[in-house]
């Protein structure tokens, strides 16, 4: 980078080139979009200043779902915060669980056994597909392709059935623990997942048949919301938004976790950085996720019977039968539940979630009460980029841009 480059970050201010006597362009309309609006994917409020149909300024107003999660972590303690992490990006709950568990494991120095890692990879990729299906369904219906909503939600129901059988709950599963996962994936579940994994690529083909060559979809997304590579980096964008602008950066490759370095998959990169490229990147990511799922299932087959939860008595609950027969295990159980301490220090650990880099910055002072748990939210950066992409475009492009940036308000507001 050469020279001192600064950016004019000034959303919501208008150029002073308005002539009030101009009958066509002399007046601006400030339109309030949200916080309740079907096309804003949650409780997002946008103050849009319009000159006719042209957007002169957009100002996002977030915080309508701020539930005080970071404060809650300090009050509850590390273990009890797991259910709260589900509800961050609630379309991919297990991914958030894994990200949080990885941060705690890094601070505590816990090794997850290989089978636990394989199960986590499987769950994370299922969550990624689940989240991308939400993107496809809601963006489709926002742009008028109503059928996409029903097709995508129908597929999500099949993922929900698998997760329901495994975890007991369709969403907000909270099935990841420090050191692994709560329970093992047995053979019948693995074969059910394999059956779905085998059937899903045909569904992706169906989605592509509906949209990729579709003239209306192309016209509404091609050339809309173009994001340059420099701007994408400077605006802290990560994930599919960054990759669609041509930058090859995926945390699964750059900072591998849970054994991703051993999996064989490709990272789709876009060229134009417009809404259409972001759509194509996500479609291809779903295909690559299926590829990773197949490999994870094959590994799970080979490692059947291995342990899936670390035996670290500082952070992991002992097995129930041992707790009820051994005094020492009972004391471990008691200490983990009431007085679990992480070593003093602070770490940051991030995963590649469907929205971008989801990270947890956890700081502990050595006591059982957390000092700080900051959630690095990729969706917040995506919302921040709305003015960058939408200003100067038509109002209907705003809907396409919001859909293609793909954020979830639970994660934006925390």
């Amino acid at each position: 980078m050469s020279g001192m480059q600064t950016f004019e970050y000034a959303p919501g201010t208008l150029p002073a080139d308005l002539d009030p006597d101009d009958p066509l362009h002399g007046e601006l309309l400030q339109l309030n979009v949200g916080p309740q609006h079907p096309a804003t994917h949650g409780v997002l409020r946008l103050l849009v200043t319009l000159d006719g149909e042209t957007i002169r300024a957009v100002e996002p107003d977030v915080g309508y779902l701020h539930r005080g999660k970071e404060k809650t972590c300090e009050s509850l303690g590390w273990r009890k915060f797991f259910p709260h992490t589900d509800r961050l990006d609630y379309v991919q709950p297990l991914m958030n669980n894994c990200a949080y568990a990885l941060a705690l494991e890094k601070l505590g120095g816990v090794e997850v056994p290989p089978r636990g890692q394989e199960i986590r990879v499987l769950l994370m990729e299922l969550s990624r597909i689940s989240a991308h299906l939400i993107y496809l369904g809601t963006t489709g219906i926002d742009l008028g392709a109503v059928t996409m909503f029903f097709l995508c939600f129908s597929e999500r129901e099949r993922i929900y059935d698998l997760l329901d059988a495994y975890t007991g709950h369709r969403m907000n599963n909270t099935y990841v623990r420090i050191g692994g996962v709560y329970a093992d994936v047995d053979e019948s579940l693995a074969s059910a997942i394999r059956e779905w994994v085998d059937s899903f690529p045909a569904k992706i083909d169906e989605f592509e048949r509906m949209l990729t060559g579709n003239r209306i979809w192309y016209d509404r997304t091609h050339g809309v919301g173009v994001l340059g590579a420099d701007a994408a980096r400077a605006w802290s964008l990560t994930g599919p938004n960054l990759r669609a602008s041509g930058i090859d950066f995926d945390l699964r490759r750059a900072e591998p976790y849970s054994g991703y370095e051993d999996y064989d998959f490709e990272i789709p990169i876009g060229t134009a950085g417009d809404c259409f490229d972001r759509y194509l990147v996500r479609i291809e990511e779903m295909r690559q996720s299926i590829r990773i799922c197949r490999q994870a299932l094959a590994r799970l087959e080979r490692s059947r019977g291995a342990e899936f939860l670390a035996e670290d008595r500082r952070y992991v609950l002992p097995p129930r039968d041992k707790v009820q027969t051994s005094m020492e295990e009972l004391i471990f159980q008691f200490k983990v539940v009431t007085d679990m301490r992480l070593p003093r220090g602070e770490v940051y650990r991030a995963v590649e979630s469907s929205k971008g880099e989801l990270g947890f910055f956890v700081a502990s002072d050595g006591t059982s009460q957390p000092l700080r748990c900051h959630i690095r939210s990729p969706s917040l950066m995506n919302v921040q980029a709305i003015p960058l992409l939408a200003e100067g475009r038509l109002f209907s492009d705003l809907v396409a841009i919001i859909g293609s940036l793909d954020f979830v308000m639970g994660e934006v507001d925390r």
Binding site: G12, T13, L14, A16, L18, P20, G26, E27, L28, L29, Q30, L31, N32, P35, Q36, H37, P38, G42, V43, L47, T49, E59, D61, G63, Y64, L65, H66, R67, G68, K71, T72, P83, H84, D86, R87, Y90, V91, I134, F149, F150, F153, S154, R156, E157, Y160, R170, M171, N172, M409, G410
Partner: protein, 220 residues
């Protein structure tokens, strides 16, 4: 609005004639089988709400097909998700904008009681702001549970007596309850900007860098 009236000794409510009861039943039948939901999808429950409207669980079978996103066209408000104090004004406004008769389902524990969030920012139950007809526990409740809630609400609607009430005049107890929760004053420290739907701006005033929002300029 649901109103449970105590049953008289004969097992029917006061001044019940055969025709009046039948007319009421007809109106109730029409209303309960055409509940148009206003999905206020705030957070995770919103995803299950979408699943409920979706193909597998399909509340269209129960007449609740037309999920319009404008409150003026709906009669069933489903508060799906966590209500925060910042959002409270908007939620109450949506409720007020719905025409009578209207019903409210509090979907999930967050809208019923605040759920797992007893924090500084979360409303501890949407019934702090508006009367609720059906509470659905779950985090999130399964769409099956929501369909059960819809059926319970339909049974509740069956017990109403709209035409007789019309003949009798407005229920003072109901009016008082509505008036009580109707004037909703937000405390000053939870002020929510009240921008109107559209505001014509003076470009010179706007370029001065302050946001003209609703009535006059709101100091930021």
């Amino acid at each position: 609005m649901g109103s449970l009236r105590p049953l008289g000794a004969s097992g029917t409510s006061e001044d019940a004639g055969f025709l009046a009861t039948r007319a009421d039943a007809l109106v109730n039948w029409g209303r309960k089988n055409s509940l148009w939901p206003m999905p206020l999808g705030l957070s995770c429950c919103g995803i299950e709400l979408m699943a409920m409207i979706g193909p597998k669980f399909d509340i269209a079978r129960f007449g609740a097909e037309a999920a319009r996103f404008s409150p003026r066209q709906c009669d069933l408000l489903i508060v799906a998700g966590t209500l925060t104090w910042k959002m409270a004004q908007a939620c109450r406004t949506i409720y007020d904008q719905m025409p009578d008769p209207k019903w409210v389902i509090a979907m999930g524990v967050c809208s019923s009681t605040g759920g797992m969030y007893d924090s500084y920012a979360v409303v501890q139950g949407v019934d702090m702001l508006m009367p609720v007809d059906v509470y659905v526990p779950g985090c999130p409740p399964r769409p099956d549970a929501m369909i059960d809630a819809l059926l319970k609400l339909q049974k509740k609607i069956e017990r109403e007596s709209p035409l007789r009430r019309l003949a009798r005049g407005p229920d003072p107890e109901l009016l008082e309850r509505e008036a009580g929760t109707g004037s909703f004053d937000m405390p000053p420290n939870a002020a929510v900007p009240t921008a109107r739907i559209g505001t014509y701006l003076d470009p010179r005033g706007r370029a001065a860098g302050r946001v003209a929002d609703g009535e006059g300029e709101r100091a930021r």
